[in-house]
């Protein structure tokens, strides 16, 4: 801590590695063997339902929880022997955890005080941090005199003011309303771009994850199900869980009957289906084809071909920029189709109509039927 300034150049930016990290509570594993590498300056999001182990993993990086086994390595140094107050990792808590008995300025000065940065330097950095989060004149207020969004900014300023090489954020926008959340998402991205530190971000909001992250790690049952860019995860989910959790997917059961240059050919109740072999299935495997609602097009059923599903419209939902149709197929499964307003207006579709859907095989994913 020798008078580093807020400039991007002088901030050290960390890499983080988790090796087979496990956390057991009694016999149940909250975190069950997590492996990942956070690249320098990367914005990585843990996405998953509650109880999937994402917050526990974050708490272990911060040192607030002790892993049962495995290693956490920051810039080549094992973190495990260090208590939280020696880790030099910034953390933003879900409910901000601003100290209610201190002013905003005192809150932000706290980490500097702990690092024995005094006098003019401390003042300058507090003012700089307040300016960065857009609250230059709020130093003398108490946290309970601020709105939720303002408290969030102060929490952010406090976690960044000592220039940690790594910033952890535990559902930091969970308590804010939608408009404010979207605005804060952009502000956090701006700060990340300006300051360049590595960020681990926890959320259960898939939209937030898609907007903000360089990469997303999808958690379920204490494990990372898949890690990759938003596009990879959305277009090529490797499991039913990921396909269903990130965005919406239609799942059609079938059995793999042939492999064909990266694709699976499946036999199903709707005839022959073709899908990209994302889960590396083998001939004979039970499978599902996962296809996004927006990849489906309404088509003419007269010619028999691959990837054709018939169904009856049971619901039409008006979404402004698009229309959503819910179908019941012949085997009583539900499917949803999303059409952009322009396309939807070409043919009027009403509940009760029999329609036929089609999609390109490469735009769907063949996944294992279980898991």
């Amino acid at each position: 801590m020798h008078g580093i300034s807020m400039d991007k150049e002088s901030t050290t930016i960390a890499t983080l590695e988790l090796r087979d990290v496990r956390k057991l509570y009694g016999a149940t594993a909250a975190v069950d063997g997590v492996n990942l590498t956070l690249k320098r300056g990367e914005f990585l999001t843990f996405l998953g339902p509650s109880g999937s182990g994402k917050t526990t993993t974050l708490a272990m990086v911060a040192g607030l929880q002790t892993p049962t086994s495995g290693r956490i390595i920051l810039d080549g140094q094992p973190l495990d022997p260090l208590p939280p107050y020696r880790r030099n990792i910034g953390m933003v808590f879900q409910h901000y955890a601003l100290f209610p008995h201190m002013t905003v300025a005192k809150n932000i000065a706290f980490p500097l005080e702990m690092r024995k940065i005094d006098g003019e330097e401390r003042k300058r950095r507090v003012a700089e941090a307040l300016r960065l989060v857009g609250l230059p004149d709020f130093g003398d207020r108490f946290p309970n005199q601020l709105s939720g969004g303002q408290q969030q900014r102060v929490a952010l300023a406090r976690a960044m003011v000592f220039q940690p090489p790594l910033l952890l954020m535990d559902e930091p926008l969970g308590a804010l309303d939608k408009k404010l959340r979207e605005q804060m998402q952009l502000e956090i991205l701006r700060l990340h771009r300006d300051l360049g530190m590595s960020i681990l971000y926890v959320t259960h909001d898939q939209e937030e994850a898609l907007v903000m992250s360089d990469r997303i790690a999808v958690f379920n049952d204490g494990r990372i199900q898949q890690i990759g860019s938003a596009e990879e995860l959305y277009e090529r989910p490797i499991s039913r869980f990921v396909a269903g959790f990130l965005g919406e997917s239609n799942m059609i059961r079938g059995k793999v009957v042939a492999l064909d240059s990266g694709d699976c050919v499946l036999e199903s109740r709707h005839g022959r289906l073709r899908a990209f072999n994302t889960a590396k299935l083998k001939t004979g495997d039970q499978a599902v084809v996962a296809v996004r609602p927006e990849r489906l097009t309404i088509t003419d059923p007269s010619i028999e071909r691959e990837n054709l599903v018939k169904g009856r419209v049971v619901e039409v939902i008006y979404l402004g920029q698009s229309r959503k149709y819910v179908l019941k197929t012949e085997d009583n499964a539900e499917m949803t189709v999303l059409q952009q307003a322009q396309d939807a207006e070409k043919h009027s579709i009403n509940p009760g109509d029999e329609i036929c859907l089609e999609w390109r095989g490469r735009e769907s994913n063949a996944l294992a039927a279980e898991g």
């Binding site: 911060a62 939280p84 107050y85 955890a97 702990m114 108490f142 976690a159």
Partner: protein, 279 residues
Amino acid sequence: MLASLRPRGAGWLVLPAAVLLLLFFAVPISWLLAASVSYPQLGLQNFAALYEKTIYLRVLGNTVVISGVTTFWCAIIGYPLAFTMANGSPRVRRALVFIILIPFWTSLLVRTFAWMVLLQKQGLINDLLMSAGLIDSPVALIYNRLGVYIGMVQVLLPFMIFPLYSVMVRIDKSYSQAAATLGAPPIRNFFRIYLPLSLPGVLSGASLVFISALGYYITPALLGGPADMMIAQMIEKQISQFGNWGLAGALAVVLLVGTGVSLAIVHRVLGVRAGWRRA
């Protein structure tokens, strides 16, 4: 909605309590307080006597010092107990609540006599210390200031612990966690975060203990010596031994005013402290 449950004119519900208080509390108290300026004749002679005779000033001093020291020790002993209750497992919490509440089921007089059994010259504690070879002759644990402190701290401790506990359980753990991630080692973390956040509990516990202690009678009378007389004993003595209602009234006025002033100070401090707690 709720207003419909509280019809206007329901004031008569408090009537029995009001009559009781008026007849058996307000009237005699007013009479005693009035006696301070009217007995044996109108004037401030009773207050002048309080001021002139050193014995009364000493008793007043005793009262404040004993109450203060008792409060101090209650805080020192009660804080870690309340902390353990607030932050321990539910099992530890239940056990502690039970242990702290047991004395409440016993009469104050019985507890005070129990201390006499323990603390006297041939009592349990002196016997133990002597048979352990730690002391050669019995130590005076009773009929002095030490005896008063031991008895009063034990009796008043729950009044410190429960207000403290109720404040401590509401302190979110994320504050200390946040302070740790920001670089605060455990001891600084405690003094900068937990202690200030628990201070309202300390203050309300301390005010309860201090104000209760100001009017204490049985414990100092049985466990203290002649030099440890407190104001309540003096009032009793003035009436039962000398029939001096005027002086007793003046002492009662002093006790009442002292208690009122202490309360006012505490409220003031708590009010200022509570500034950051207001939403």
